[in-house]
Amino acid sequence: MSAAVAVPVPGRLGDRRTRTLAYVGLAVLVVLGVLVAGTLAGDAAQTTDLADRNLGPSAEHWFGTDRLGRDMLARTLAGLRLSLVVGVAAAAVSAVVALLLASAAAVFGGVVDRAVGWLVDLFLALPHLVLLVLLAFALGGGTGAVVAAVALTHWPTLTRVLRGRAREVMSSDYVAVSRQLGRGRWWIARHHLAGHLTGHFVVGTVLLFPHAILHEAALSFLGLGVDPGQPSIGILLAESMRYLTAGAWWLAVLPGLCLLVVVKLVDAIGENTRALLDPRSHHL
């Protein structure tokens, strides 16, 4: 019964929301730590020391060194930072595209809505990675091209989610009531849609990050990504390929694992945020 007076219950530390929040907080801290460490490690990542070439992991060089004697830990951190920055930029652009298209579809309806739906279907039907590679190639490679290519291939799924939610809101009784009160489409977009889409938008954007990060690494690995002089994870992995047969496993395994961990953490941030915002699991 809704009208009943609520009795406060003290929060328990062991409850699910506390654990979820603690996990999200920890994950955010780790990701921020990687960003800061990666920035600080920028110089060390490029410092060559030909006396210490191709060393395995040791107390001095935790992740070993590469063929030019560069410290792999510094290179991994710097690479992760670059991957995060490129991934976040691409995901953000992608999310904004999704938001604009979904809002336009909801506000204008009719032809615009059908056009957006068609565009989403078209892009989802094309093979993701092929399109990504073609775009990056067409745009001439480099950091800018990676951001553009990832942004242009990742908007459809989020657009579909936002469009579905927006449709639900627009066909609700309360929007019909606002219309009969004489409110126009922009007023309804601002006062009804914005509030209902924010949560989905934030979660959707965070969940785009891991995809964008992995695809940046993939493009760089293929040589279509960031400038080879820069230590992106994709480039580290590509370089390591030649030395794997020589037994230099640390060149590939350790940076690869770190990428996996960071991507998993970002993904967990998104999933947990979703669980917190989802009305079905909100109060569990």
Partner: protein, 267 residues
Amino acid sequence: MTAPLLEVRGLEVDFLQYERGLRRRAVPALTGMDLTARAGEVVALVGASGAGKSLLAHAVLGLLPPNAVERGTVAVDGEPLSPEQRRRLAGHGTTLLPQSASFLDPLSRIGRQVRRTARLAGHADPRRAAEQALAERGLGREVLRRYPHELSGGMARRVLVAMAVLTRPRLLLADEPTTGLPTDLVRTTLREFRVLADAGAAVVLVTHELRAALDVADRVVIVRDGRTVDVADPAGFTGDGAALAHPYTRALWQALPGNGFRVPEVR
């Protein structure tokens, strides 16, 4: 005297919710529900939507969501049962007749779903039992091949009744089974409950339509704001309700269109 089939005593349900941040609070939903149903009885549970009728039915079946906190006793055959024990009874003696066709699997044909119910209930020949149960409710064989969205509201409701009866319930909880049905179908559906009860089952009829319930009910339980306020004899609902002891029950009766449509003085 044997114990009643279902006895709910002082049932309270709170929902734990988060306020902003980590503060939790308990929002009371049921604040004192009593309900007794004996074999052979139809008990009508009457109240406004939001009064807690459906919640009571779900609590009896142990189907409350995980953030619900329950106090009080729910006893079956005189034995108090935990929510887990009650959940195990669901479908085995205790059956919920749900409110709407949305409880049917939208992706599976009617025949398949009804046969499955019959099989789970242990009918020797599920196919024949299913067809017969539908035919008894005026639904021909063509219905078997349809999907839920291809049924009218009235047909879907009859399919649900057929499935509920197929489980051979000892205790049937019918949640608003007649809302939105045309008058003749309301009467047929309610008569089904009477027949079930006369065959020895206990039927709890959850409804907000007091008048319809009076035709079949042995007792009327009046629910308001999450608590039971009165248990009345259907015979008392006549004339201007002078025989009704409880003021709220009397007000409810007198406020019905056709009975005066009176607005009580006190709010």
